[in-house]
């Protein structure tokens, strides 16, 4: 049972990490929609403009998740 959960931690961690690296704006939107203005910063009528620092922070967290997922996967071998 513990192994299944560790395997899930490895797989889901890597998947979430990939999403964070490839679509950081989506991740930011997930946490800011409903908490920040609907139009927010950025162009009117478009998606909220995500500051570069936030983008890079989310991508860095994504890389950390991929590495952690890899670590948990490694412990299963």
């Amino acid at each position: 049972m513990a192994d299944v959960r560790t395997l899930l931690a490895a797989l889901l961690g890597a998947v979430l990490g990939l999403v964070m690296v490839l679509a950081p704006e989506f991740v930011v939107q997930v946490h800011t929609v409903g908490r920040r203005p609907h139009e927010g910063r950025g162009e009117y009528g478009g998606e909220r403009d995500v500051p570069d620092q936030w983008r890079r922070l989310v991508q860095a967290a994504g890389v950390a998740l991929i590495l952690l997922g890899g670590y948990f996967g490694y412990t299963l071998i």
């Binding site: 946490h31 929609v33 908490r35 203005p37 910063r41 952690l68 948990f72 412990t75």
Partner: protein, 264 residues
């Protein structure tokens, strides 16, 4: 819209049932806790939104025409005139916060410089439609449901595990993924509400052309600005063009589609 709303409610119902069944939380506490959670998010969100852009009241003596337009559109939509504010946002923009009777519309100085009177009126009408349709509250509610479902999912993972480091990691990841999945439905609602606000704005001002023209003008200006700045930043991103997978991850429908609908 009804289907997506029902799915969202189903997510909340499942989370509430799990909270009651697995953790023994009484129904009244689940409901009061949910309302408090969403209420605090709403209050803090409104305060932060205005503070983050440094919004100030739009002086009536300096902008009498804008105040008059908003009064007329508000009367047409059957809502109280919201508070009007102005801010420097660096780009043409406007947004609404709050609810019917306690709404605030913020416009950027850049927007006032970019649009003509008719286009500005259409943008104001679109924002007033968001207040009239309770879209701001709807988004706060959606975020609240997503957060509650994510918290419950996180605790279920935590309480059913062995409390080792992999379990904590799994709980964190499951919470995030759950929130993302629920938010996909919230985004779908958001995209639909944009079309509705466009339609209501067109009805209120007697046509869709001014808003179509405003959107066209703003997006053309942004295309020029974006092409120089964002190429490097967007290199790793699958987000931004509003097509294919990216459209599912967007809170707004593509501007071209909105323009097309407004003109049809």
């Amino acid at each position: 819209m009804a289907v997506v709303g029902s799915i969202l409610f189903a997510f909340y119902a499942i989370a509430a049932v799990v909270a009651m069944g697995a953790f023994g939380v009484p129904l009244a506490l689940v409901l009061v806790g949910s309302v408090l959670f969403v209420g605090v998010q709403y209050k803090i969100g409104k305060w932060m939104a205005l503070r983050s852009v440094g919004a100030e009241d739009l002086p009536e003596e300096q902008y009498p025409e804008i105040h008059r337009q908003v009064e007329d559109i508000s009367a047409e939509m059957g809502i109280d005139k919201p508070r009007l504010m102005i801010a420097q946002m660096g780009v043409p923009n406007a947004f609404a916060v709050g609810r019917k009777g306690a709404g605030t519309v913020v416009v950027s100085e850049e927007l006032l410089r970019t649009l003509n009177a008719a286009e500005l009126e259409s943008v104001l009408a679109h924002e007033l439609a968001h207040i009239s349709n309770r879209d701001v509250v709807m988004m706060v509610l959606g975020q609240g449901v997503a957060s509650i479902v994510a918290i419950v999912a996180q605790w279920v993972v935590l309480l059913t595990g062995d409390n080792d480091i992999a379990d904590f990691f799994l709980a964190l990841v499951v919470g995030q993924i759950t929130q993302m999945l629920v938010m996909l439905f919230v985004f779908a609602i958001s995209r639909y509400r944009e079309y509705v606000a466009d339609g209501d704005a067109a009805d209120a001002i007697g046509g869709g052309e001014p808003l179509a023209s405003a959107l066209e003008k703003i997006s053309r200006g942004n295309e020029r600005a974006d092409s120089a700045v964002d190429d490097q930043v967007n290199a790793l991103c699958i987000f931004g063009e509003g097509r294919g997978l990216a459209s599912l991850l967007s809170t707004h429908p593509p501007v071209e589609k909105r323009i097309e609908r407004l003109r049809s």
